[in-house]
């Protein structure tokens, strides 16, 4: 591998702006003038037509400040149906005109700081809420950011900006899965992202490059190209990064988790056994339930660690149900962003697309250590503990006998809360919801607790639960889909759920073909819309 001077700089330090890196200084092409961080960050005049340039150039400082304003207010947005902040509405309006979208993107990449826990979420949110870009704008993205393997190397001195570029690329690839995503994954984009997987990069650049690749791979054509490319490398980069799973550095640990997940689910590498085939789960008696989880949550093969990389609010419950007694579990906080971790019954709904999760209905309560709130019934009350950071331990205690929930962070407990018991008396599960790019690891008692509550005897799920070896297998997606395809559907089943037998005739309209479960949920006939007076059982 060729060396260049700019790679010797330490992560996080900006190079001197006036000295262009030597490797690029001699390139005479007009598209590659003296490359410097200065140029990378300045107005992208090489992709904005002259007719719009002067106007947009004047707007740039304004757009930068709108992005920062949005970042500042987003953490305070707690109501799910709260109005969009004005700064975000302005960004939407700007992105809807001509090349405004490119400029909003450019600005977010430049100004969102790496240490802001909500930064990645804001990039995703803004891109999600902006009107869709024209194809012409999309094809200009790789050029606007000068994407190439060289840019990746140069980026080691500016991890902040390159992490943001990768977040944005991933977000666009996901939003516009299909031909547009294929158009965005040019050779230079691919070179850039693959080069970013070099372990010498700042781990957050590696992480978000990997996530971007994962999102590109949602389009089959890209997935094929990516797999081919991975196998051309002397060593599959993910096989190297996978080893970071156990790293002490929490950013590296995320890279390890995502690499392993990708190797199991997306970029399956021949000769590498699936993680579930080589994970020892003999001491684990309770897991996150892979049958009771919203679609995009990633669960590790040991069933204890979970992560969300989608733009939705992903939720999961554990496998064991508590009906009486005093229970305790801990969650190791891997990422400092928005997660709502606590307790829920089966009645609690996972509405990942609407942004509702644990703590957002009357059947669940959750601790949010990013915004410092306790959530119940989608209403929040502030709490006084410190904002959580990677490595912190959240303790969740459920005292069903005394109808109390007690949350603690690193052993410092809040006052007992009894809201949850207004609507539920039993049937509780450990449960959690995750915003984009959030991760934590649960300990249900298979390992010693860090901060076991003192002065009270608590039970751990792991000492009481039991799972069969089959139940402990968290199947990779490809294998799950294969099982689905083999599912047969009986012809005499209900026309609505296609599951239970169709035994009900609706009266008076006499339309039939429904099971009793579905019929009970109907107010009017699905076929003629006439109101239902009776649900008669058909005898055949």
């Amino acid at each position: 591998m060729g060396q260049c001077l700019c790679c010797d700089e330490k992560d996080g330090e900006l190079p001197s702006l006036s000295v262009p890196p030597p490797e690029t200084a001699s390139l005479p092409s007009p598209l590659q003038p003296n490359i410097s961080v200065d140029r990378d960050r300045s107005f992208p005049s090489h992709v904005i037509p002259a007719s719009e340039a002067s106007h947009l150039r004047r707007m740039l400082p304004h757009i930068d400040s709108l992005v920062l304003q949005t970042l500042a207010v987003i953490g305070n947005l707690v109501e799910n149906d709260q109005e969009t902040p004005p700064s975000m509405l302005r960004l939407q309006a700007l992105s809807n005109k001509g090349h405004g979208w490119l400029l909003v993107l450019h600005s977010m990449v430049n100004v969102i700081p790496i240490n802001e826990p909500l930064g990645p979420a804001v990039i995703t949110l803004v891109l999600d809420d902006c009107a869709l870009p024209a194809k012409d704008s999309i094809t200009k993205v790789p050029r606007m950011f000068w994407l190439s393997a060289k840019a990746s190397k140069r980026g080691r001195s500016d991890p902040n900006r390159h992490r943001n570029i990768c977040i944005a690329l991933g977000c666009i690839a996901e939003k516009l899965a299909g031909p547009t995503s294929v158009a965005l994954l040019t050779d230079s984009t691919l070179d850039y992202l693959i080069a970013n997987l070099d372990p010498l990069h700042h781990p957050s650049v590696v992480l978000f490059s990997l996530i971007a690749l994962e999102k590109f791979a949602q389009t089959s054509e890209n997935k094929i190209a990516l797999n081919k490319r991975f196998h051309q490398e002397s060593q599959h980069p993910l096989l190297v990064l996978e080893k970071w799973k156990l790293a002490d550095d929490y950013m590296k640990r995320q890279v390890g988790f995502c690499s392993e997940w990708c190797l199991d689910n997306l970029f399956v590498s021949e000769g590498r056994p699936f993680t579930y085939e080589r994970t020892d789960t003999s001491a684990i008696n309770v897991m996150l339930n892979s049958q009771d989880v919203s679609e995009y949550l990633k669960i590790a093969a040991n069933g204890l660690e979970a992560r969300c990389d989608a733009s939705s609010f992903e939720s999961v419950r554990c496998t064991y149900q508590a009906d009486a007694g005093i229970w305790y579990y801990e969650a190791l906080i891997v990422t400092p962003g928005i997660m709502q971790i606590g307790w829920a019954t089966k009645s609690s709904k996972f509405l990942n697309y609407e942004g509702y999760g644990i703590g957002d209905d009357e059947y669940s309560i959750a601790y949010d250590g990013c915004r410092n709130l306790i959530w119940y019934e989608a209403e929040s009350i502030p709490h006084t503990l410190q904002q959580w950071k990677p490595g912190d331990i959240l303790g969740c205690l459920l005292n069903i006998d005394r109808e109390e929930v007690i949350f603690s962070l690193n052993g410092v407990a809040l006052a007992p809360n009894s809201q949850l018991f207004k609507s539920a008396k039993s049937g509780f599960f450990a449960a959690a919801s995750f915003m984009s790019f959030q991760q934590c690891e649960f300990n249900f008692g298979s390992k010693p607790f860090h901060f076991a509550p003192s002065g009270i005897v608590v039970c751990a799920f792991n000492d009481h639960a039991l799972l069969t070896p089959e139940q402990k297998i968290i199947l990779p997606r490809s294998k799950k889909l294969e099982q689905l395809r083999l599912t047969n559907i009986h012809e005499d089943s209900c026309s609505l759920c296609c599951d239970a037998p169709a035994v009900i005739t609706l009266l008076p309209c006499r339309h039939q073909g429904y099971c009793s479960g579905c019929a009970r949920q109907l107010e009017s006939c699905p076929l003629c819309r006439s109101s239902i007076q009776e649900r008669a059982v058909l005898s055949s």
């Binding site: 689910n265 679609e295 609505l496």
Partner: protein, 152 residues
């Protein structure tokens, strides 16, 4: 994939086996409730020749509640707004669990053939559609050329 309901499996199998003419709906590789949809602009409409991308998502309550559908390709249409949201009664209060992904997409295709400016979502577009239909149709053709051709 929380135990995918058989209803969704069945609809997906049928969509793959007997596709609707002018419409393709492919489930996402990672989320079987999320479909990537492509609708061809109907003949004789200002959207003819265009190829429109949509996303369709089946919420947890489906089929008791309607799928969520949105245009991903920009379109100049009085019942479709800037964010691609669609004003169509069967997606709202007129939803019936007897409707399916297939029937929803057919209705959307029909909406492209017959815009309804009296029930607008995009007010400026609807207004022009009512006062100067010829110009509105010109705009729709122009947008189709700009955003819906060569995008696939």
């Amino acid at each position: 994939m929380a135990g995918l309901p058989r209803r969704i499996i069945k609809e997906t199998q049928r969509l793959m086996a007997e596709p609707v003419p002018g419409i393709s709906a492919v489930p996402d590789e990672q989320n079987a409730r999320y479909f990537h949809v492509v609708v061809a602009g109907p003949e004789g409409s200002p959207f003819e020749g265009g190829v429109f991308k949509l996303e369709l998502f089946l919420p947890e309550e489906y089929p008791m509640s309607a799928p969520k559908v949105r245009f991903m390709t920009k379109i100049y249409h009085p019942n479709i707004d800037k964010l691609g949201r669609i004003c169509l009664d069967i997606l709202k209060d007129k939803w019936s669990p007897a409707l399916q992904i297939r029937t929803v997409l057919l209705s959307i295709q029909a909406l492209l053939s017959a815009p309804n400016p009296d029930d607008p979502l995009a007010n400026d577009v609807a207004e022009l559609w009512k006062v100067n239909e010829a110009e509105a149709i010109r705009n729709a053709r122009e947008w189709t050329r700009t955003y819906a051709m060569g995008n696939i």
